[in-house]
Symmetry: C2
Subunit: 494 residues, 2 copies
């Protein structure tokens, strides 16, 4: 995915862009010098090595990549294992002490940021791979393990862990689970919830639920696992997980296609899904506005096709049959060109070619350099309506801001697009009017205001556009049932 | 799937086997002649055409295929649409009137059976396909639509709906969702929860949650959809759903393999998943005891291989490339024979051959004829532990009942096996001792007591073997939060 708006390398650059008056921001507070009774109890139970006071972690980053402000926590808890997490939460529940769980802090919606009255619970010390079971095809990990460590360990064991996103080096499996992370391979492998068999989690009470199940099928009672996944730290602290490993792909074919219309784009998607035997592993669509803007601004990029087209698609298929894979892909692409679904195409004949195609799609990592004040959106629709919804957004934005740069691109196979808007002269903290346009269209098309980034604090005021009053009331009832003292990540989602 | 113990054709034959004293059975009661205030209010609001009294539905079956007893409902509600469901539940909530939702009544754990104080809510009139969206690849249906109708409509529209189980002609999509149905194609396509994008459901209060979303990605708040799926009618009544359609396979390859050991079986699974480019669509393992017993008892079956083997696997791969599919499959099988992973194999050269292989795997539909008093189990383990768990079950059963017939078979790619035990002279209502052996081993191997059939009333007393106290307490808290008057399917699951 598309960590839009976030520099690929130096997240510490983001806080400089923190708006001075973000809508839902609580002013940063400096905790008073004397630790509270809750913090004292935590420190007594777990020791100073696990529970640090603010002057003991002054240099540590405590906010995510959203650019939203964060206060400093009253204490920073860094447990070594599930038992210490349970002890910490049991004490916090007793003192009604709010807790914000933190993983790699790469979120984009302020989900791990603080108001000032919370302790932070970092899982960074729980970063061990517990076991790889090559027969069952599973990897058991602690929640603080970085995604990239998991990917590399899977590869070393002869498997493939398909979840992948720009923040892979920093984000943790626990954060991926708490936010149900998406990324580039969802079309073939699903989101984070599809990569996991068992999760172990600690409730606000300190009770441990779930477990390290390796069963693919388990219809014994309610699906707590999927309820906790994507709940952004508001229902439980995920401590360990059993991940599902996949066969390692041994063949990749990649093409860059120019297409005449959005109808042709959806036709290519359907035909590729039906016609490419191992399936489609990436189907990244880019509107001409995106293509032209990033090529004009980044001189390391080169246009793969000689002539301009209204739409471009990066099509990729991975498989496990090196002998037949390339021929079948080429044949399919030839048929699409012959039928006019695709107007022109470039087939990657080696990995460097494929990387050059991906570099165009990965250009959002460079936004900070040429459009530092842009607004970025992560919305989803039915696949059939993506084209109309995007057109309506574009038309309404251009009507109001004729000088705006609008870039639309995304994972069409998932109905997920990103819309980036840069209005010259409009500062970053003044995006409310753009929000309104994008989210009103999203509501009208019954789409989602958050396809993969979550709600956090950034989108909570728009949640009602995607979820009904009855839905939100149900979520609140579940929150009340599992966290009656409301200590877990208060003020997030709703 | 393995509708173990249930005749494939005539479900009405089952009730004759109803045990006279099932452990959790409440004796059938005949409702008193005078309708209750709740039934009167329902009839007044919805009319006699929607709310029928017992003497108006005397010939109608009201119990599932479990063989467990069921009372007659106080009234039978047959709404036409979501609004009528909401009206009915709102009235039931007001009168604290328990409600049992019924779909096709093909469940195997008594999940839709009655104690006697409930009204039944049948979705059988809500059986319409609302829309097929060929661009988005979705089908919107009412929950009462039979699975087979959905499969056929998908096929007619050029798509494939992969969920498949023996009860396809009778079971409904709503029941498939309420129980998170599994079946034969889980290894490639997942369970019912993986076949659905949006669900609309009515809570006990009459409030409507969810909706007809076609988004593949939606990270806006808690995952109510997956919480309701598999909750066996205890949290809400699912009224409509948006199903996900898949590309129609155009090539199938099927082989029957004889293998020397369980290690060889897991090796074949891993190698097939890594080596067959379109993946594995079925991997059905059968222990020799199963193979030999069904072949000895059903003279329509013929052994595909000349010599006996300790294990047999029905391996199937479906794909969309008719040109390359067969060759790649044959090549893979050749390599497995050469390496000794597979000792002997028969490749289906036409559909009749493939059907003959499947007939051996589908023999459980005939159990009623030759082992009418058998006990059947549906358990799951990590793939690595299936062999050891099965061996331990077999050894313990044989030690206690040397004369027992034991048949083990199942979906190894999902870690899901079925164990069927026939002890000559042991009647159907006297299976508690067999239950204990199977479920103790399941607990010891940290498996699931219900891979795909659900808990209902049949397995509720064993739930603690698979789910912890904290898990069950969380489920109860969620139940209390969403159905505070406990009117929905009371007494089921826990």
């Amino acid at each position: 995915m598309a960590v839009n708006a976030v520099p690929s390398a130096v997240p510490s650059a983001v806080p400089s862009a923190v708006p001075s008056a973000a809508p839902s921001a609580v002013p940063s507070t400096v905790p008073s010098a004397a630790p509270s009774a809750a913090v004292n109890a935590l420190r007594e139970a777990l020791g100073a090595q696990v529970v640090a006071l603010p002057d003991e972690f002054v240099d540590r980053r405590v906010e995510d990549w959203s650019g939203l402000p964060s206060a400093v926590p009253l204490a920073l808890i860094r447990p070594h294992d599930t038992r210490e997490v349970a002890v910490a939460l049991e004490i916090c529940a007793r003192y009604a002490q709010p807790v914000v769980t933190q993983g790699g802090l790469t979120g984009l919606v302020g989900g791990a940021n603080l108001r000032g009255d919370e302790v932070a619970l970092s899982l960074d010390r729980m970063n061990q791979i517990v076991e790889i079971d090559a027969v069952s095809g599973t990897m058991t990990v602690q929640a603080g393990t970085p995604l990239q460590v998991v990917q590399e360990a899977a590869s070393a064991a002869g498997f493939y862990f398909p979840l992948d996103l720009g923040a892979r080096g920093s984000c943790s499996i626990g954060g991926n689970l708490a936010t149900n992370a998406g990324g580039n391979r969802v079309i073939k492998y699903g989101m984070m919830r599809d990569q996991v068999l068992g999760i172990e989690a600690v409730l606000a009470s300190g009770a441990i639920v779930g477990g390290l199940n390796k069963m693919i099928k388990d219809n014994s009672g309610y699906d707590l696992r999927n309820l906790l996944i994507g709940s952004e730290g508001t229902l439980a602290v995920i401590t360990r997980a059993v991940l599902r490993l996949r066969p390692k792909p041994t063949a990749t074919a990649t093409a860059w296609c120019g297409l005449p219309s959005f109808d042709a784009v959806t036709t290519l998607l359907r035909r590729a899904q039906a016609g490419l035997a191992p399936g489609v592993s990436a189907f990244e669509v880019m509107w001409a506005g995106y293509h032209d803007t990033v090529l004009a601004n980044l001189n390391t990029l080169r246009a793969p096709l000689a002539s301009p087209h209204p739409f471009y698609v990066l099509l990729e298929s991975v498989g496990t049959d090196p002998v037949r894979h390339g021929g079948a892909f080429e044949e399919f692409l030839g048929a699409m060109l012959e039928e006019g679904v695709v107007t022109d195409a470039a087939l990657a004949s080696n990995e460097a070619h494929a990387q050059a195609f991906w570099a165009i799609r990965d250009a959002p990592g460079e936004y900070q350099r040429f459009i530092p004040n842009h607004a970025a959106y992560d919305v989803s629709f039915s696949i059939a309506q993506v084209g109309d919804a995007a057109s309506r957004c574009e038309a309404q934005l251009h009507a109001r801001w004729p000088e705006a740069t609008i870039m639309i691109y995304g994972h069409l196979g998932d109905g997920n697009i990103h819309i980036v808007v840069d209005v010259p002269g409009l500062p970053k903290h003044d995006h409310d009017a753009i929000d309104q346009v994008i989210y009103d269209v999203t509501r009208d098309f019954r789409g989602s205001i958050s396809a993969e980034h979550g709600i956090g604090i950034k989108k909570k005021h728009f949640l009602h556009l995607t979820r009904s009053e009855a839905d939100v009331a149900s979520m609140r009832a579940i929150k009340q049932a599992l966290d009656p003292a409301r200590i877990l990540n208060p003020g997030k989602i709703f």
